[in-house]
Amino acid sequence: MGLEVKRSLALSKGTIRSLYKAGISIGFALLLTSVLFLLTGANPFLAFYYIFAGAFGNVSLAAETLVRTTPILLVSLGLAISFRCKVWNIGAEGQLYMGAMLGTITAVALGNTPLTLIISLLVSIAGGLAWASVPAFMRAKLGINEVITTFLMNYVSIYLIQWLLAFPFRSPDTLFPESAQIPPSAVLPVLLPYTRLHLGVIIALFVALPLVHFLMMRTTFGYKLKAVGENPEAAKYGGINVGRTMFLALIISGALAGLAGFVEVSGIQFRMRPSLSPGYGYTGIVVALLGQNNPVGVALASIFLAAIFNGSTTMSRALGQPQGVVDFIQGVLVIFVLASEYILRYLERKGVLKV
């Protein structure tokens, strides 16, 4: 018993390597961003100060950062499952929209009943799952590259939803292409007065995160994911149904993306809009890679990206920087996450780092 605890407290070599890699990625990305700030005439220290202050400067700002973390975390937890078995779901954006749309339709149709919230949440999970099951089927049964199909389906879903909101489900009471407002009973309650921090953050951090952690680390399915990801041929000879594992991984990630979508409607927007997500489906990819498909790592990476998301708005206003710094950081971050293994090995060879 005592031994067990000790072993789980001491960081394994793999964990230390992962931490180094995350550190290298973030370090290089911030360094490059600093260069960008210098080139555009902004003081990098001041810029990062404003980003930090804008994300955590007071209680309400910190609450907003957690609000931003919620959809990113839900999406990236799902992507971590899918990426663990090397199924590259880049359709989370579309799955998120489908979940949000179906959840909203359900909530509006049911009206104000005690079960509206829970049923709508379940429908959004089912919506994301169903949308992901198409590319999952194509991958598992027909061997069609899921990267292409999931991405193309983003376009189908977004155009479909724009149409649904412009015509059949257009709100009767506003001038915009958006849905009717969801009933009060479908709204996720606010946790902290005078902020937008809603129950969704509890769902993400204290329900989805432990569940995904358990699924990945403590079940045979989690083991299968890893086996398929590391060597599908060997997994097949070991008796694992590779196609089935890939199928499940992809639909579970779709389910979580769908949930993220309706949580965003139910906690923040209260209506379905074509502009619901500023690209959470893509941010989720960066987060899952930065967190190296480890649920805890993914949670930390979600908070980090959410902080940059919110903080860079404050920074842009203060320093006259253009909007879009967050996209720049996301872009360079993902390249350095990729290269970090190489950089780490290089540093080890040179004797700078020892793992």
């Binding site: 991405f151 376009y155 253009p322 290269a339």
Partner: protein
Amino acid sequence: MMEVEWALIIGFIAAGIRTSAPLMLASLGETIVERGGILNLGIEGAMLIGAFTGFMGAFLTGNLWVGLLMAILGGILTVLTFGILVVRINLDQVVSGLAINLLAAGLCLYFFRLAFSQGAFPYLSELIGPYPIPLLSQIPVIGEVLFNQTIFVYVGIVSVPITYYLIFKTSYGLKLRSVGEDPLVASYLGIEVSRIRYTALILEGIFVGMAGGLLCLSMFNVFDTRIVAARGFVAVSIVILGRWNPVGAFAGSLLFGFTEALSLWIGTFLIGPASASISQLLSLLPYLVTLIALLIGGRRVRGPAALGSPFSKE
């Protein structure tokens, strides 16, 4: 009456070929690298960079041809960056491609907003228009459809036999294909795998840079980070459907170019209360058709054997 209908149909066919041009160029480029065993999903990002550098080049100098040159340079640079990731340091090709797409989106959004203040709406005052080929464009029907097009269409069509010849009839093509089938054996035979692959990537960069550039320089006169709209991924699908053959890629490009033109064309003919609704819904048609085509023609196809797998001699 008949004449009017003829003119409409000819106009539609010409439009279909015009909208096929970016797909032709991109899928020919992708065919080359995939024959060499590299799956470049960063093509979407490379097209975006091409569109951006093309737009900026044309906007800043006022010369569309400078824009085209910048687009090609942007395409080459992006594809080579991808090449460094997958050829030099042997990273996973799929993830590297995704990384390139995210990087491209981030760079373009940031630098576009850096260059133009919020609310500014920069546009090009002219586009690279059709260049009628003397005499040939006078031929009835065929002249209008084939010989009164932009240079991008001409380059796309002419590149089909050239690419075919390059892949199947030259010694470079033989090496390229053997690298794509089995890079280890190829390297034992004395073929420099990375040199072959870098050459293929540079060729792809030229094609893809043009494909991206033409979006800004010949189709739309503005830049937007959503301008590529999955055309890169459609091009990758076309390569699969065309069985890694330039002729197949050409046919596939026409199919999707015509679908895109059709979804716009139908919209212009609709009248009545439902017309706005239907024409908006038609926007998803090209993506849906690509998915259905993959469902029918993309199952268990066998591409170059080493496609997508990292290679190092150690």
